[in-house]
Point group: C2
Chain length 312, copies 2
C-alpha cells in the first residue's frame, strides 16, 4: 500500500503505533505539539536534514538504516554540546507512491536509535513531495552543566577524539565504486556508531570545546579553531588505519588518510581538554591546540580534500 493510499492520518496512526515513549515524554504525538521534560530549565535543540540522492540512496540503505542515520546525525549534535538527548521531532516528505512499509521502518530506525540514549520520537509532520526528505530536530538536557561550545579551546589544550572516523567515508567510496563489501565499512556508511555517552562525559571532565565530526575531521576541527581563535595541529600517527580500511584503500587506489581526515558522517566527537585532564579510554588524544589560526597535520597544511559543502 502506498502512502497516498492510506492517507496522511492513516499513516500517522500506523507510524505512531510503532513508537514508545521514555520518561522525558510528558505528552507524545497526536496533539498540536508535544511536551518534553526540560529539568535543567534550558533546552538544547538542533536540526539536521537528509535528502534522498544527496545524503542517502534507497538502493544502498534500507529504511531502517536511514532512520538510524537521521536520528544519529541529530542526537550526535546534542551529545556534542555535552547534553543528554531527550526527544526527536521528524518532518517526513514522501513521494505519494512510496510504500507505507518504508515510512514505518524509517520510524522504527529513528525510534531504535533514539532509544539508545533514552530519547523518544515525540512528534512530527508528513507531507507529499517529489523528493524524499527527512528533517529531524533533536532536543536535549544539559543536566545543570554549561554547554560545551566550539569556542572555548585554549592554547595548550589537548585535542581528543571519541568514536570512529573514516569508516562511513570509506563505505561510501566502496558503494560508489559498485561494491557491497567490506561489510564493516558499508554498514558504517548506513548506520553510524555514535559515542553518545562521550559527550556528557567530556563535559563532566571539563572539555573546553566540542564538535560533532560530520563534515570531516579537519573541516570540523577547523570550525573549532576559527570559533576559538586558536590553531590546532592534528597528529597523523594518532590514527591507526584499520585493516579492512587499509585493504579497501589499496584495492580502490585511495589514500586511507583522506577518509580518516576528511570523511564525515561517522559522527565521532572531537573535543579539547586542558592538558591536566587525565583522558579516559573513550577519549584518545590526537593533537594539540596552540596560539594562531587554522588546522595543520603534523605541523604542515594538509593538501588532501578538505571536507564537505552541501551545495557543491
Amino acid at each position: 500500500m502506498s502512502v497516498a493510499g492510506v492517507g496522511e492520518f492513516g499513516l500517522i496512526d500506523r507510524v505512531t503505533a510503532r513508537l514508545s515513549y521514555g520518561s522525558t515524554v510528558l505528552l507524545g504525538p497526536g496533539d498540536d505539539a508535544a511536551v518534553v521534560a526540560a529539568p535543567d530549565a534550558r533546552v538544547v535543540a538542533s536540526t539536521d536534514v537528509l535528502v534522498e540522492g544527496r545524503h542517502f540512496r534507497r538502493d544502498w540503505s534500507g529504511a531502517r538504516d536511514v532512520g538510524h542515520r537521521a536520528a544519529a546525525a541529530n542526537l550526535a549534535d546534542i551529545a556534542a554540546m555535552g547534553a543528554q538527548p531527550t526527544a526527536l521531532l521528524v518532518a517526513l516528505c514522501m513521494p505519494p507512491e512510496l510504500e507505507t512499509g518504508w515510512a514505518e521502518e524509517l520510524a522504527d530506525g529513528l525510534a531504535a536509535e533514539a532509544a539508545k540514549v533514552g530519547a523518544s520520537v515525540v512528534g512530527g509532520d508528513m507531507s507529499a513531495s517529489p523528493t524524499l526528505t527527512i528533517a529531524v530536530t533533536a532536543l536535549g538536557d544539559l543536566g545543570g552543566r554549561p554547554p560545551v561550545t566550539r569556542s572555548g579551546a585554549r592554547p595548550g589544550d589537548v585535542l581528543a577524539l571519541a568514536g570512529r572516523i573514516g569508516y562511513a567515508a570509506a563505505g561510501l567510496t566502496v558503494l560508489t565504486r559498485g561494491f557491497r563489501t567490506p561489510r564493516l565499512l558499508v554498514e558504517a556508511c548506513r548506520r553510524p556508531e555514535v559515542p553518545y555517552a562521550a559527550g556528557p562525559h567530556a563535559a563532566r571532565l571539563g572539555a573546553t570545546s566540542m564538535i560533532d565530526v560530520s563534515d570531516g575531521l579537519l573541516a570540523d576541527v577547523g570550525h573549532v579553531a576559527k570559533a576559538s581563535g586558536v590553531a590546532v595541529d592534528v597528529r597523523r600517527d594518532a590514527f591507526e588505519v584499520p585493516r579492512q580500511m587499509r585493504d579497501a584503500a589499496q584495492a580502490l587506489g585511495v589514500d586511507p588518510y583522506s577518509w580518516l581526515l576528511a570523511g564525515g558522517d561517522d559522527h565521532a566527537l572531537a573535543a579539547t581538554f586542558p592538558s591536566a585532564v587525565a583522558l579516559p579510554p573513550d577519549w584518545r588524544p590526537i593533537g594539540r591546540v596552540a596560539e594562531g589560526s587554522g588546522v595543520t597535520v603534523d605541523g604542515r597544511p594538509y593538501d588532501g580534500p578538505a571536507g564537505w559543502d552541501h551545495f557543491r
Copy 2:
C-alpha cells in the same frame, strides 16, 4: 548569486547575519546546537513542513511571505497548547540554482513572524534538494500551566474561535482561478494573521481543549471531538461572511461556507470552555459540546468538503 555559488557556509553566514535574538536565546546559531531557556522545566515542541508546489508557489508568494507562513504554522501549534513560543529551528532544502536573496528574505520573514511573539530563529540546517522544502520546529514554554490538549472537551462546554477563518482558503481559490484580488483574501493566503495571544489567554481562562485550525474548522473540531470522546455542534449563524469574501464567492460561484467551515491555513484557534467562563472579545462562541461523537453543523451532518489530507 545562486546558493551553490556562495556555498553552504557562505549562505549560513549571510542568513544568520540577518537574525537577532530575544532573551530566551542562551546560545544562538553557529554551534552544534542552540540553547533556549525553558523556565517551566518543560518544553513544548512542534514541527511543520512546507513543500513548494504543495503548500506554496513562488509565483504566488514572495520569499518573505513564505517565511511568515512557515513560522506562523508552527508558532500557532505552540499557542494552541496554551504556551508561549520561544524559538524556531529551520531545515531549508533548496535547488542549487536558487538565488541567495530568496533564502535571505525567507529568513527575514521567519524572523519577523517569530519576533511578533518574542521568539527567535536559533538554528537550522541547509541542504541542496530538487524540491524547495522548509521544515520548521517551534519550541515554547507553558509558564507553569498544564498544556491544553485536544482531549479535554466535556459535554456542556462552549466551542469558541479566535482569529479569522476562510480567508486563506478564499485567497487560494482566487489565486487558483488566476486572479490577484481581492487583496485582503490573497494576502491572507500568503501570510496568516494568527491570534497568538489568544492561546495562552484561553489556557488562563480554563479552556478544556484547544486546537490550531490548519486542516479546516470542521476537520480540526473533529480531531477534538474524537480525542475528547464527545460530539460538537457548530452554529452556522455564528459566522458572518465578510463582504469581500461574499463578493468573491459570488463571482467565483463558490459557497463561502465551504471556505469558512472547511478551509485551513488561517491558523485560527478553536477551543472549548466550561459554560461558566465569561469569554473575552478575542474568543467568540461558535458551538456547543454534547455527549456522543462527530461534528455537526446546526445539528445536521455537513455535506460540503471536509478538509485537507496532505497525500490526496
